[in-house]
Amino acid sequence: MLYRENGQFKTSYRQDQQIFGITQDRYAILGIIAFAFLAVPFLADEYLFRAILIPFVIMSLAALGVNVLVGYCGQISLGSGAFMAVGAYAAYNFFVRVPGMPLVPAIVLGGLCATAFGILFGLPSLRVKGLYLAVATLAAQFFSDWMFLRIKWFTNDSSSGSVSVAGLQVFGAPIDTPVAKYLFCLSLLVVIALLTKNLVRSAIGREWMAIRDMDVAAAVIGIRPMFAKLSAFAVSSFIVGVAGALWAFIYLGSWEPAAFSVDISFRLLFMVIIGGLGSIMGSFFGAAFIVVLPIALNQFLPGLGGAFGLHISTATAAHAEFMIFGGLIVWFLIVEPHGLAKLWSTGKQKLRLWPFPH
């Protein structure tokens, strides 16, 4: 009843091509963005910023990148951690070796290096599909693990292999408080999410989706598979590389190559599967779920167990996290392959009729 587009007429092509066609949607999204920028800095405490909001924002960006590749183009990738690592270390090298390099260009250049790396390791996608491609991208992951451990030049010849950045600032405003870090990451996320949404609605996005659905038919009607697949790898790696640079610079501050191990690749894949393949909104849902669930389990499981008279140790909570993730992945893949985003849009569909029964 409330969620209907009665009386909303599109009178120009520009209106017709809007991302959010329904006025209620548009206002809701603008409201959420305004809330995130203006209200959250005053409402959230420091722990919420450092432990939940900042990782959520950065991981949504990374999940967005992975979704472009896995969800929109259908190329399974287990090497997202490697792209994050390349983005992070490339941005680090630009930041540290080039005197006076500002922060945002360093991060963007890191993303471009990740793009080059992604295209290189995306070449196998032209020959193999599905599981075999997943293994080829896993090779990218292990190669990056090896590269950043053994080639000292990448870690600025640090004896311990651990690197760190300090003194981050944008146009003189220092990024050292949690609020500043959050706003910086959020700005980058909003810009890149908008660009990505427009990209997947455009011709390239349709090419990706055609390749995903039926690559032979796509090739028959004139879509060049090489261009489509490699462009998907390129765009995805750029976004994931920028997310990796943010993860390292803003969230960790000081990191070693083990910070971008295969675990993070799996986490990103889980985010995209649970959140919804092929959906921009799904990346946000999946990231929120994966970031918040371990913390929520750690806080509530001991209490919950105590209510039943069971003593839940920290080890049990950590194991429970794995079990719940595994169970959820299997459940989502069987029951709702399009993930939380599909549940959300089904809910919205039902909202169009509510409160009327039919």
Binding site: D45, E46, Y47, R50, A51, P55, D145, W146, L149, R150, S159, S160, G161, S162, S164, A166, G167, D176, Y251, L252, G253, S254, W255, E256, A258, A259, D263, P294, I295, N298, S313, T314, A315, A317, A318, H319
Partner: protein, 442 residues
């Protein structure tokens, strides 16, 4: 309907107000110790006894002494699985609750927290691990690598080999292989070993092992080919037992292997038993001390009351003792802070930092605490955050660890300039200045 809803709301409010007020009262005289642990993951076999030791000592202080001058000790564990990002998250979560100190229990997490600790004014106690340069309190105000770091450990090992060979000059021409965990923890001793290799003329062969260390066949094949005179093992968790199994498989004599104090505990050798006979490791002052008084106290006052954190036969083992010592140093730092800032009051993190910097545990005090024969006196200062660099070697005889050397002290002549230059380099990178003498007095 409206009235019952109002009554429900009022009841809920009253209940929540009651719980809030009782918890506020309960927090009046408690010192909260956050415990970052790993009971899962590849490093759990070694992390678990360490965590149990840390917790049991805090329970002992509550049971035996009633807290620190009447201030009860509370604690909460947070699982890090040795991962840096989870360690940082645990730190952020417990930072608001605690005003005491943090023991990151991992060199990787220490690197990350070292950047955050000065801003949060939270001291980090890194007993026997962490940044070797943090011994220099002039630059690292908030880091305390008490009892030793990887540089002092490596130094003691080289001294021991020199003694064995009949003089440090006899090391010339020998080959020493360093089988290390490919992480900041494993790479830390390389700088010092390279320095000593240059000084004494021995060849240092670096053999990294990819984390977590279950794949070592290639590494030990290289050891078999190059036949080094000695092997230093710098591993943690499953890497240690795998290394010893591979050494047995390739036939490298275990008595020529020397592990760091993190590679010389029961979980590393128990499964191999007699196969690891002769394997030596550094002992961070203590070894397996089942007969010490503090262990007897814990068995009596904690385990016999059913409050033990882990199995009873674990009490007194090497890593368990290390956990005890780490908790003991933290508790004594709080006690020392109370001597200056108010006996019987709850201490803040800055006050605990002062306590850590002015620790003065003489043998009498250590004996009274139950550590007679386990530890030597520790005395920290503004410039020296380590307090004591004594260590010795213990050897596995197939069933237990027993000491096989005298006490060694790290060679200050070699270490001091290295530490100072590393600390200065860190300060230059982070744009910090060395502390002033006035700052040392505060």
């Amino acid at each position: 309907m409206k009235l019952s809803k109002f009554l429900m709301a009022a009841a809920v409010l009253a209940a929540s107000a009651a719980t809030v007020s009782t918890s506020a009262l309960a927090q009046a005289k408690e010192q909260f110790f956050p415990l970052l642990v790993y009971r899962t993951g590849a490093y759990a076999p070694n992390g678990t006894p360490w965590a149990n030791g840390k917790q049991d000592y805090l329970k002992l202080v509550n049971a035996r002494d009633g807290g620190i001058n009447g201030v009860k000790l509370t604690f909460e564990e947070c699982e890090t699985a040795y991962a840096t990002d989870r360690g940082v998250e645990c730190y952020e979560r417990l930072k608001g609750k605690t005003n005491t100190l943090f023991d990151p229990q991992s060199t990787g997490i220490t690197f990350a927290l070292t950047d955050k600790a000065p801003g949060d004014k939270m001291p980090l106690i890194t007993v026997g691990y962490g940044l070797a340069a943090s011994q220099d309190g002039g630059v690292f105000k908030w880091n305390f690598p008490i009892l030793g770091s990887y540089w002092t450990g490596a130094d003691v090992l080289v001294q021991h080999l020199g003694k064995k060979e009949g003089g440090l000059d006899k090391l010339k021409g020998k080959r020493i292989a360093l089988v290390y965990h490919d992480s900041p923890f494993g790479k830390e001793p390389i700088a010092l070993l390279q320095e000593r290799a240059k000084t004494h003329g021995f060849e240092l062969q670096l053999l990294p092992v990819a984390a977590p260390g279950v794949e070592q066949k290639a590494t030990w094949l290289q050891v078999r080919q190059s036949r080094p005179d000695y092997v230093f093992l710098w591993g943690w968790g499953v890497m240690n037992s795998t290394a010893l199994k591979e050494a047995q498989a390739t036939g490298y004599p275990r008595d020529k292997m020397y592990g760091v104090w993190w590679s010389g505990a029961e979980p590393d050798v128990r499964d191999i038993g007699a196969g690891a006979k002769g394997y030596n490791a550094l002992a961070l002052q203590h070894g397996a001390e089942r007969n010490s008084k503090v262990v007897q106290d814990i068995l009596k006052l904690v385990h016999d009351k059913g409050q033990g954190s882990g199995p009873k036969d674990e009490v007194g083992q090497v890593l368990y003792m290390r956990g005890l010592i780490i908790s003991m140093l933290g508790v004594e730092a709080v006690r020392r802070a109370q001597e200056r800032f108010g006996k019987g009051k709850v201490m803040t993190a800055e006050q605990v930092r002062w306590g850590l910097e002015n620790l003065n545990l003489d043998q009498k005090r250590l004996d009274a605490l139950g550590f007679a024969g386990v530890m030597r006196p520790v005395s920290t200062s503004c410039q020296d955050h380590m307090g004591s660099t004594y260590a010795r070697i213990h050897t596995w005889d197939g069933t237990k660890w027993s000491f096989s050397s005298d006490w060694y002290q790290a060679d200050e002549q070699i270490l001091k300039p290295l530490i100072k230059s590393a600390a200065d380099k860190y300060a230059a990178e982070k744009k910090l200045t060395r502390r002033t003498p006035a700052d040392c007095q505060s």
